[in-house]
């Protein structure tokens, strides 16, 4: 069944390893929705989160292929609904006098926060699922959105799982 799935990869934090992993996604023609990469608590190891729209077999094959990349320490996949996925967005909105209050109402409604309040424009920070972030950005589009920076989603599977501890599955 085609659903949104998270593929999480622990890999050496070198550009060459990252390039190899991402290059593989391109070469195998995977339906990538977003990519996010950042450090982990283990020095020298990064975590790459890839959100894809695919069936289970495609996601599992991606995992097996990623596991073959030298520098990749572990990889796992799970349907997004079996985990928590969050994305962060920064949205720069033009703040004009008469609609400023209305803008703050929207920010409050989405439990977002204003992280910069410059004279001409404010920056709104919001965090949530991809759908939540999209809905909030849409609401902010009632004002003049100048720039949007989205992080791409990061995700963790519910319960007692640990991508780093997973061993490659053998049929």
């Amino acid at each position: 069944m085609t659903v949104t799935r998270a593929v999480t990869v622990l890999l050496e934090d070198r550009l060459i390893t990252f390039t190899r992993a991402v290059g593989l996604l391109r070469r195998r023609n995977l339906p990538v929705r977003s990519l996010a990469v950042g450090p982990t608590v283990t020095p020298g190891i990064s975590r790459l989160t890839i959100m894809i729209q695919s069936d289970e077999a495609t996601a599992e094959r991606a995992v097996q292929q990623l596991q073959k990349v030298v520098g990749v320490r572990a990889a796992a996949a799970f349907p997004a609904r079996d985990g928590v996925s969050r994305e962060l967005a920064l949205v720069k909105v033009r703040a004009t006098g008469e609609r400023y209050g209305e803008l703050l109402d929207v920010v409050q409604l989405y439990h977002a926060s204003v992280v910069d309040d410059s004279p001409e424009a404010i920056i709104v920070e919001l965090t949530g699922s991809e759908a939540f972030v999209l809905s909030c950005i849409r609401a902010l589009e009632r004002f003049e959105v100048l720039e949007v920076a989205r992080s791409g989603a990061v995700a963790l599977e519910l319960g007692l799982t640990d991508a780093g501890a997973r061993v490659p599955a053998n049929t």
């Binding site: 390039t19 290059g23 070469r27 094959r61 292929q65 320490r73 490659p168 599955a169 053998n170 049929t171």
Partner: protein
Amino acid sequence: MREQLTGSQILCRALLEEGVDVLFGYPGGAIMPFYHALPEYPELRHVLVRHEQAAAHAADGYARASGRPGVCVATSGPGATNLVTGIATAHMDNTPLVAITGQVPRAMIGRDAFQETDIIGITQPITKHNRLVEDVEELAEAVHEVFTVAREGRPGPVLLDVPKDVQNQKLEYAGGANGSARGATGRREGLIGRPTPTALVEAARLIARAERPLIMAGHGVILSDAYDELRTLAEHTGVPVITTLLGISAFPESHPLHLGMPGMHGEVHVNRAIQQADLIIGIGLRFDDRVTGNLAAFARGAKVIHIELDASEVGKNVPVAVGLVGDARAILRELLEALEPRHCDAWRAEIATFVRPRFESFKGELSAEGILGAVEDASHGRCTVVSDVGQHQMWVAKLFRYQRPNTHITSGGLGTMGFAVPAAMGVVMARPGEPVWAISGDGGFQMNMQEIATMVQERIPVKMAIFNNGYLGMVRQWQQFFHGRRYSSTPIWSPDYVRLAEAYGIPGWRVERGDQVEAALRGALDHDGPALIEFLIEQEANVFPMIPPGASLSEPIESEAVTA
């Protein structure tokens, strides 16, 4: 005090520690320090090719014939990019190839220096692993890492890019101890899985109950040296054996259980057996599109047991009932223990009724079958055949009767024209004293015929056979069948090959009639050194049967009769 060695000397030592005895290469600016050190290590024989592509193919041929990594060396920039086709060839066919390239000095990397190219970026999708050496401290370890990766598990090509100044850096060298491969190896060993007992039991149950089972043996049987196990399994169960293009010579062709090659140019009875089968035991193959034809119509009545080293291959192209992930040899042994002897006589008798008389496309007396039969006879079956790509490749695959393991070498996955002549040089180096035939068409031969000079200079006795039909034959055949006989850019002129041979100082023969074949073969084999025979074959002979691209295995074109 330990010795101070240069990076180049360390590279040579590390290669020796890896058991390397021959390198195929070509010097140039960024690899000169390495070539400066090379004469200090006479155990490393260097074969100077005439084009870096040939170095990669020769190293590939060496690896395929010996089972050990083959090594090629080139300079930065054009030297490195010339290796690319050879590396991609090895990647598609899972050959342990180690490419070593010079790189511009570290301080110049990224500045578009003279002969700088991002060979790491270029070869990333066609290598199993590649690595830029950033300091002499990591050089020996990097060499051992890339060799380990090339060899282990499902083999494949690797590339090591060594900046010129790293080759000149000095270090106190402690020997092999420096070179425990970094992290990667231990973890990756875990990837060579073992099938679960349940999966083995299920596979054995399917084999015991099948009425129309088939074994499809691929390159993995050769790579894992599982010839005896394959043969024992077949004989124990009576299951007929199909060998894919790269699986040819994994099973003796004189064996009553041997069926032939499947797929686009497979025999009609083989493809029909696949379509009628209720069980396919695939061993070390990837169910390539040239084997399956239209996937949706492939073996619809068959369950598939897939024995495969690489878990990501299982279920990639065909749905699998049982996947047995691991080394083919070990799995076949375990499977045998779980299987009672049985036979498949009724099924084999049924397959025998599928056999169709072979349509002979050659009208004259000089046919592919006649030539290849004579090659076999003249070599007393004790030779290795390296083919190029095209019509002759299919004839060589189908008409030669392979008896001994791993005696058929060809570029299967990438289908690289120009492969045979340089690859055969590597095969000769791996199997000295055994006749090695490089069989090419007139197109493929002209892609790398410059290597005759290498054979002469390095005394590499490749026996070259050219099937000259004046066309790029396979493309012409497709034009005949699918493009209304518009022979666009397929007629190809050839030089006088006998005089070409003469120019290189080697014997050459032109064979135009059947009665000239034997003398030419005898002459070439008796000559102590490289030799060349040109066979002037019929211009528009075709390879039959043929499954049109995109069609199912049930829709073969069997003869000229259907030509539009």
